[in-house]
């Protein structure tokens, strides 16, 4: 290109840019401080959920439809492909869904930038939610959102394959050693012993069982690279390299529950949501749930929780709160529990739940010794990086994976 043409191009470009820069300014930049005008009367609520599967999607859709009919509003449930990303675009675009799931691990990020409406004091009988769950969703002393439910991890055993492998109830593992021994027996029969999600949300349980965890109790410092964690991760790596543990992708499955449902593995470690998924997708699978095998430091599991977030920019906050109220009523929580196997976040229906689902005892019992999620702000990309390390565990070095986490976590925690 000749210099003359280049100059002209530059001039033309700048002219055009200046021209349209000014029109864009005319279209009005929104003022972040402005309070969104509230609309009363029948609302059209958009509810975005990060669904654990068809079972959950359908249950929430049904519940929302029922609420909409009885209250005279409209409610559309949108199962997000990638909740974080879609919500991010919605928030940046200034038109987020009115109600959405907020995971405990992202909660601090949303609350700290003012994306959430703190409506905790407007919901009835707040004290009924488990205290630990309320604490999870409290930021700056304000309860931002109502806990939806919670779940814990346990061990699922495919009973049919179990007996096919020549195992009996006596073989159900309660310690790491027994788990390894049993897994070896299964492998000898040519079956995959255990399918395990390659994320911190599954492998992390082994840390807890060995007396470790990623963050200190106050959540202020990173404690990844400790002997307890390294030993736990080395143990998992050993099981992977020995072929006792397979990751879902290695079994052509999107998640462990699918591999387990297809009978591709004899055992898996998943939360109570697996019930609903199996019921829906693989109704023929017979399985039993037991507590996770204890590690050297005793029993340990992970707990997960989400809340019903309401967007600070929603036009229908009042109606949205009513909707959340309906979704978190004891009755509705039991209905959700039946549909996709989560545990109610309200203490008042705990007994009703245990009476209804005696088989879920291992999950409920897990609550006593469960480790909650990492919920500090700015930690998501650090945790993503840890996930990447865990995906490469078979060829990676446990100590350096954890040391890496510490390095990144320190930067994130210190910087916020």
């Amino acid at each position: 290109m000749t210099p003359r043409v280049l100059t002209r191009a530059a001039v033309a470009g700048l002219t055009a840019a200046a021209l349209f820069g000014s029109t864009a300014c005319g279209s009005g930049f929104d003022d972040p401080a402005a309070e969104t005008t509230q609309s009363t009367g029948p609302a059209s609520l958009q509810i975005m959920i990060g669904s654990s599967g068809d079972a959950e999607t359908k249950a929430v859709q049904d519940a929302a439809a029922a609420w909409a009919t009885s209250s005279g509003n409209q409610a559309t449930v949108v199962p997000a492909q990638d909740l974080t990303q879609q919500l991010g675009q919605g928030l940046a675009g200034g038109n987020p869904p009115d109600v959405f799931y907020v995971d405990a691990s992202r909660f601090a990020d949303y609350a700290s930038v003012g994306a959430l409406e703190p409506y905790g004091d407007k919901i009835s009988n707040v004290g009924d939610f488990y205290e630990s769950l309320r604490n999870t969703f409290t930021y700056d002393g304000k309860l931002y959102c109502a806990p939806k439910d919670f779940s814990t991890l346990a061990l699922q055993i495919n009973t049919e394959l179990w007996s096919k492998a020549g195992l009996t109830d006596a073989d159900v593992p309660t310690t790491w050693e027994q788990l390894t021994a049993t897994a070896k027996k299964i492998k000898a029969k040519g079956m995959v012993p255990l399918v395990l999600g390659d994320t911190r949300d599954r492998i992390g349980a082994f840390f807890v069982q060995n007396g470790g965890w990623l963050l200190s109790a106050d959540g202020k410092s990173a404690t990844g690279d400790t002997p307890a964690n390294v030993a736990a991760l080395t143990h998992v790596k050993q099981m992977v390299t020995d072929g006792l543990v397979r990751f879902p992708k290695q079994l052509d499955a999107g998640w462990s529950g699918e591999a387990f449902g297809k009978g591709a593995a004899v055992m898996t470690i998943e939360g109570n949501w697996i019930k609903g998924a199996l019921q829906n997708d693989f109704p023929k699978v017979k399985y039993q749930v037991v507590e996770l095998p204890a590690g050297p430091a005793g029993k340990g599991t992970l707990s997960f929780t989400q809340c019903w977030g309401i967007a600070a920019k929603s036009k229908y906050k009042e109606q949205a709160i009513k909707f959340v109220e309906a979704m978190t009523s004891g009755e509705q929580q039991i209905a959700f529990a039946k549909a996709f196997g989560v545990m109610p976040s309200r203490e008042s229906v705990r007994d009703q739940y245990t009476a209804e689902f005696p088989a879920d005892k291992p999950f409920i019992d897990g609550a006593a010794y469960a480790q909650g999620p990492v919920n500090a702000p700015k930690m998501d990309s650090v945790l993503q990086d840890l996930e990447a390390g865990l995906q490469g565990l078979a060829n990676g070095d446990p100590k350096s994976i954890l040391a890496n986490f510490d390095k990144n976590a320190k930067a994130a925690l210190g910087g916020s």
Binding site: V5, G13, T84, L91, A92, G94, V113, D380, Q391
Partner: protein, 378 residues
């Protein structure tokens, strides 16, 4: 597919020149107005959705905007070039991720560009063979994958490369047990080193290395998972480039080839000394279009792997998207986009420079001329 538009535009060089215009009467006043009216819609749209975005993103890349409200208010913290320095000089997660993405993309380019060029040229040579019939069928067959949707094709390849998928059952027919493609984060170079007995990295290579990755990590090669994406891309783009070669080959005069045959030149010599020089401009075009295109890989990564396993299919394009829309770090995401922009612009300029340098007859952008190769059969 955008490549098709790009290709069409890149190869279109126009018809006869406009010397007759010189003879026309003076500029009519209303042509001025009409001219601007005619181009107005295009200017408005390109200005609004191409130029303005670039300027806005440049601004955002200098801030710490977190995706709440407007990025153009005084509350948004201005951070200068922080977002850029974090990618290059600060030891941290941002740089690690960015460099990993760059590494992945370098290996991707290094495999995709040569393979698709050679394959496209090879196919074009065979299709161009005057002795063969059914040319148009084969041409159609080879080109068809290029016109289909990248998302739809990615779905098909997800199935082909599933652990119990078509590729692995094909391998099984030859007694090979295929890898678990999308779960396998092992680098191909590491695997090859493993074959010759280098199982664990020499400590010299794990101790340090430039830009936040160790030498050993830089030398991983594309991961097994990345190989399946590479295969997909080669499979879809070769057809397009084959057409370009084919068009160039059809311009190689028959007489020229026959003459060299008479000289007793072997087939290879004929190819090297006669055909290759004649299609050199197309060769450069194909290589540079390939280079530019392969730094933009996004759709396939989004659909097939989302950067997994272990970040080995992360590319700068996907990383910038993820950083902005998943981690709400729009400043950093925009900064990655600009670095990528720069890489591609440099490649484009190099292309133009090389084309201009090597082949002065070749039409260049912004100037018009016409030329048909001497001795052309047309």
């Amino acid at each position: 597919m955008a490549t098709n538009m790009l290709r069409a535009a890149a190869t279109a060089t126009g018809g006869p020149d406009d010397r007759r215009r010189r003879g026309r009467r003076g500029v009519r006043a209303n042509e001025n107005i009409a001219g601007w009216l005619f181009v107005a819609p295009v200017i408005v749209i390109l200005g609004l959705f191409l130029l303005l975005p670039i300027l806005m993103a440049l601004w955002v890349s200098l801030t710490d905007w977190n995706g709440q409200g407007s990025p153009f208010t005084s509350q948004v913290p201005f951070v200068g070039t922080d977002n850029y320095t974090r990618l290059f000089t600060e030891d941290g997660l941002d740089r690690r991720d960015f460099m990993t993405a760059i590494r992945n993309n370098i290996y991707y380019v290094a495999l995709v560009v040569p393979t698709q060029t050679v394959l496209a040229l090879g196919l074009a040579l065979v299709v161009n063979n005057r002795l063969l019939k059914g040319k148009s069928f084969f041409r159609t067959a080879f080109y068809f994958p290029s016109v289909t949707s990248s998302v739809a094709i990615s779905v098909v390849f997800l199935f082909l490369f599933a652990n119990s998928g078509a590729v692995n059952s094909l391998l099984r027919m030859f007694g090979i047990s295929g890898p678990q493609w999308f779960a396998d984060s092992r680098g191909v170079l590491h695997l090859l080193l493993g074959v010759v007995g280098v199982d664990s990295p020499p400590t010299a290579l794990t101790q340090g290395g430039p830009l936040g990755l160790t030498w050993w990590e830089w030398l991983s090669g594309p991961s097994v998972a990345m190989m399946s994406i590479i295969t997909l891309v080669i499979w879809t783009t070769s057809g397009t480039f084959m057409l370009m070669f084919l068009a160039a080959l059809q311009n190689v005069p028959v007489a020229l080839e026959e003459a060299s045959t008479l000289d007793g030149a072997s087939r290879w010599q004929r190819f090297r000394n006669v055909t290759l020089p004649m299609i050199k401009p197309t060769m450069f075009l194909v290589v540079t279009l390939g280079l530019i295109g392969s730094w933009q890989v996004f759709d396939q990564v989004y659909v097939m792997s989302q950067g997994d396993p272990a970040k080995t299919t992360l590319t700068p394009a996907y990383l910038s998207y993820r950083t902005a829309f998943r981690d709400f770090d729009y400043g950093s995401g925009a900064a990655i986009s600009f670095v990528l922009f720069l890489i591609i612009i440099v490649l484009t300029l190099v292309q133009r420079w090389v084309m201009a340098d090597r082949d002065p007859d070749r039409p260049r952008w912004g100037r018009r001329r016409r030329r048909t190769p001497e001795g052309s059969a047309k």
